[in-house]
């Protein structure tokens, strides 16, 4: 069977893809220059030996009683920082999410789901605030708050509260909008208040996702707490910073090990809670 080969078929997306590839290749050269990427330092003689010496200092792990007590307290501090920060973040995020979500919009009832211009205008500042709050990295807040409040976990708790309220608020408002909204709309149309429509119409459907995402963010907050400790916010991170400055490799290794175990335990705990509650 011979088909006429007169017309060569061409892929309509090929030109766009070619231009995109060329653009990325063109940006690759200045990118490599600016980032000064040099993989050879990982394998070069003196830097490799510096790393090897550093890693060799990890053994033996520090395990004297006093240090272990210090480590235990630091672990509890990190856990407390993450939990307290998340609690404050939830306190701020839930009202903000209720204000920002389009699920409780009365003007959307007659417009098939999209609020009128007044509704959109009033919701826009809250959304903008949430986006700004979550865009500044929490460690920047921690750095500022440590200088304002002094060393210690207080700065870390507030930094997590500020950043994570933005994250939780935005995602919660989107979760409210993504569930089946017919019960809530029916309640609103029948004349209930927005809060009642939320508690009886939206929350029963959305609760599972809210808890899931909240627990995921708690795990992230735990890791963030360790990172913020680097800039003085207490907990395991501050211990790592101190031990690094004193070149106490064994202590650094012990703390890193504890951190790994903590992350694992937090993962298991969050899975358990998700299984229980969702």
């Amino acid at each position: 069977m011979n088909t006429p080969a007169a017309q060569t078929l061409h892929d309509p997306a090929s030109r766009g893809r070619l231009l995109l590839t060329l653009l990325m290749l063109a940006l690759l050269w200045p990118g490599l220059q600016l980032s000064e990427l040099d993989l050879s330092v990982l394998f070069a003689g003196d830097s490799a030996s510096a790393m090897a010496q550093f890693v060799a200092g990890f053994w033996p792990l520090a395990h004297d009683g006093e240090f272990l007590r210090l480590l235990w307290r630091a672990t509890l501090e990190t856990l407390a920082m993450a939990t307290a920060g998340m609690a404050l973040a939830l306190l701020l995020a839930l009202p903000a999410a209720l204000l920002a979500t389009r699920a409780l919009s009365l003007s959307a009832l007659s417009r098939g789901g999209r609020p009128g211009w007044v509704g959109q205008l009033l919701r826009w500042p809250v959304r903008g605030l949430l986006i700004v709050l979550r865009s500044v990295p929490e460690i920047v807040w921690a750095l500022l708050l440590v200088r304002a409040l002094g060393l210690g976990p207080g700065a870390g708790v507030l930094a997590i509260a500020i950043t994570y309220s933005g994250m939780l608020g935005k995602v919660y408002s989107e979760i409210f909008e993504s569930v089946d909204l017919r019960p809530a709309r029916a309640l609103l149309a029948a004349g209930s208040s927005r809060l009642a429509a939320f508690f009886y119409g939206v929350l029963p459907n959305a609760a599972g996702e809210l808890i899931s995402y909240g627990l995921y963010r708690w795990e992230c907050a735990l890791r963030a707490s360790v990172v913020m400790g680097f800039v003085g916010a207490g907990g395991l991170g501050q211990q790592v910073d101190l031990s690094l400055r004193m070149f106490a490799g064994g202590e650094v290794a012990s703390i890193l090990l504890v951190f790994l175990v903590l992350v694992l335990v937090a993962d298991l705990l969050s899975r358990l809670l998700r299984w229980l509650l969702v």
Partner: protein, 257 residues
């Protein structure tokens, strides 16, 4: 919520008790923090930031720092995507059980160490500057992307690749034409998502000396130049918002899976 009501209430009560204990343990006196004196102190500190420094000299330094941070995050994520894909092939079991276990172990080790610790290690090896930051991001993100890519590979049907191999093509070509078109949207989506995360991390890796806006911020804050620090924070904010917007546009337009 499944399960009986009593168990649910018990778990919720336990969570509330944990939260209260956390606050007690930290000894944070929130009342004192938000009292008149505490707010005045914070207000004094914050007022130093209310007048950002917009002199051209500082702005050009910020421009250079922003480009450095952008390059660090982009090149680091790109490198991590390439390395992660290579390791994901082994981690998905395509080269045998031993390779699978070894590569999964390496990927877990890479992603468990936080980026800041990697950055401190890389500064030791590569010296101060954006090279350390790029390598640190690349190493950590390889672990994350490798794991995500391996899961994507495992969830892809093997039929196209198998039929190509049976028809006689080499393994590399079978992968490129059989598996890659299927998982390409997921690869790009995960990569872009990690880029959004890495632009935030790249800003702060500078705290340990890895260059970019983070290093500028650290220096400015250490010298108590709050006006300049405010401009750097605004630049960080603009960078993060820009990358988030770009990434979601690209995902909407090009990655319609």
């Amino acid at each position: 919520m499944k399960g009986n009501r009593f168990a649910n209430l018990a778990v919720l009560l336990l969570l509330v008790v944990t939260v209260v204990l956390s606050f007690r343990f930290l000894d944070m006196n929130l009342a004192e923090l938000f009292s008149a004196e505490g707010l005045r102190q914070m207000g004094d500190y914050a007022s130093g930031f209310s007048n950002p420094d917009f002199f051209p000299q500082h702005l050009s330094a910020i421009g250079r720092g922003a480009l450095e941070t952008l390059a660090m995050s982009a090149i680091g994520t790109l490198l991590a995507a390439l390395l992660g894909l290579l390791m994901a092939l082994a981690a998905a079991g395509r080269h045998g059980l031993l390779a699978r276990m070894a590569s999964r172990f390496v990927l877990n080790a890479l992603r468990s160490v936080p980026e800041l610790v990697w950055a401190a290690l890389m500064v030791l090896a590569a010296g101060l500057g954006p090279n350390a930051g790029t390598l640190a991001l690349a190493l950590h993100t390889t672990g994350v992307l490798g794991r995500l890519y391996a899961e994507a590979l495992e969830n892809t049907p093997a039929a196209p690749t198998d039929s190509l191999c049976l028809a006689g093509s080499g393994r590399c070509a079978a992968f490129c034409y059989g598996t890659l078109p299927n998982i390409w949207p997921q690869l790009v989506a995960y990569g872009l998502y990690r880029w959004e995360n890495n632009i935030r991390m790249a800003s702060i890796l500078g705290f340990v000396g890895a260059g970019g806006l983070g290093q500028m911020l650290y220096v400015n804050l250490s010298l108590f130049q709050e006006a300049r620090a405010a401009t750097v924070i605004l630049a960080m904010l603009a960078l993060v918002l820009g990358v988030d917007a770009l990434s979601s546009r690209v995902r909407q337009r090009w990655v319609t899976a």
